[in-house]
Subunit: 200 residues, 2 copies
């Protein structure tokens, strides 16, 4: 069996730990890296180091930032009465890119998954109830992933916020825009029917 | 428009220069990296640095190695009378993994592509003719990619080796093993027909 040179093998091994990078892709990336001009590759190494050293979670919402408070939490222009609860910092970017939301966020850093040992105290749920209790929050929008873990997390948070003076809403489920009814799965169609709206 | 923290943006930017990593994948990887334990991410950075600093091309065949001469060129067990010509070091790994070849290699580091400005002198073709001229080589196997550039390169090398005492062969084209005739494209089927063999 042919063996890669040690340092290349080590690089393939490191890269294949990244999500959605299998052994074949890792090998391809590693070859690209050693083939590229050294500068470009060292630039990637340097960027990783800088990101690891500088990026942290916002003290308030746990979105990623390079300061104590993220841009959204620091902004004067955002509507502080609405908090959108998401699982991960990536979700903040997705919602921001819709350009349809001007409130605050609260990142849970995961979703409930007892099988993986992720319990409520592992998520930033307590910080959420504290924010709702101490700030002037009128609405909490649950924008969790539409899967078992996301729904369990949503149900748990709804229960936690039950006795607080705050409206709790959830993103609408339905047929995705630009989609095709023919290819929509049964569960999505069921949700779309359930959530149907009267046209006026 | 929401902007990523600077260092994270820089990391996304660096990663998206890698092959087959688009902006979305780069963002996903970058988030994974800043979310992972710092050690794991720094390990990737370190692996890149080490690979860039240690990996080089073999003096003889241009395969990748961490020494002057690659393992294959240094091996006493390989058949020095056969040279398999490939485009890239990755191809060496592919052929080695077939465990069907015990000769030497010669990596061209590319294929002829006048449109991209890649001319014969940019490839290691001269080094190949020198090897054939000076070593005791009986057969040169052209194992280039089955596309326009690969075929042009093969034709060029065949021409260069024409007057030398060496047999020049080419990998067989045909239906891939485990494939299905129904899904084979016309060109492949044509090649398979052209290369048909009499059963004895």
């Amino acid at each position: 069996m042919y063996k890669l040179p040690e340092k290349l093998g080590k690089l393939v091994n490191s890269l294949s730990k990244l999500p959605s990078i299998g052994p074949k892709s890792a090998q391809r990336l590693a070859f690209y890296i050693v083939k590229s001009s050294g500068d470009e590759a060292l630039d990637i190494a340097e960027s990783i180091r800088e990101a690891v050293e500088n990026i942290r979670h916002c003290d308030i919402c746990a979105n990623i930032t390079d300061r104590d408070k993220c841009d959204i939490c620091s902004s004067e222009k955002r509507d502080k009465r609405t908090i959108c609860v998401v699982e991960n910092p990536q979700d903040v970017i997705s919602i921001e890119s819709s350009e349809n939301y001007n409130g605050m966020y609260h990142v849970l850093l995961g979703s409930l998954s007892p099988l993986d040992g992720i319990e409520p105290e592992d998520l930033r749920i307590k910080q959420l109830t504290e924010r709702v209790g101490s700030e002037d929050v009128e609405e909490v929008i649950l924008a969790l992933d539409p899967n078992v873990e996301g729904e369990a997390t949503a149900a748990y948070i709804r229960e936690e916020l039950k006795d607080m003076q705050v409206k709790v809403t959830q993103l609408a489920y339905g047929i995705p825009m630009g989609g095709n009814l023919e290819y929509a799965d049964g569960v999505t169609l069921g949700k779309a029917l359930e959530g149907r709206k009267e046209l006026k």
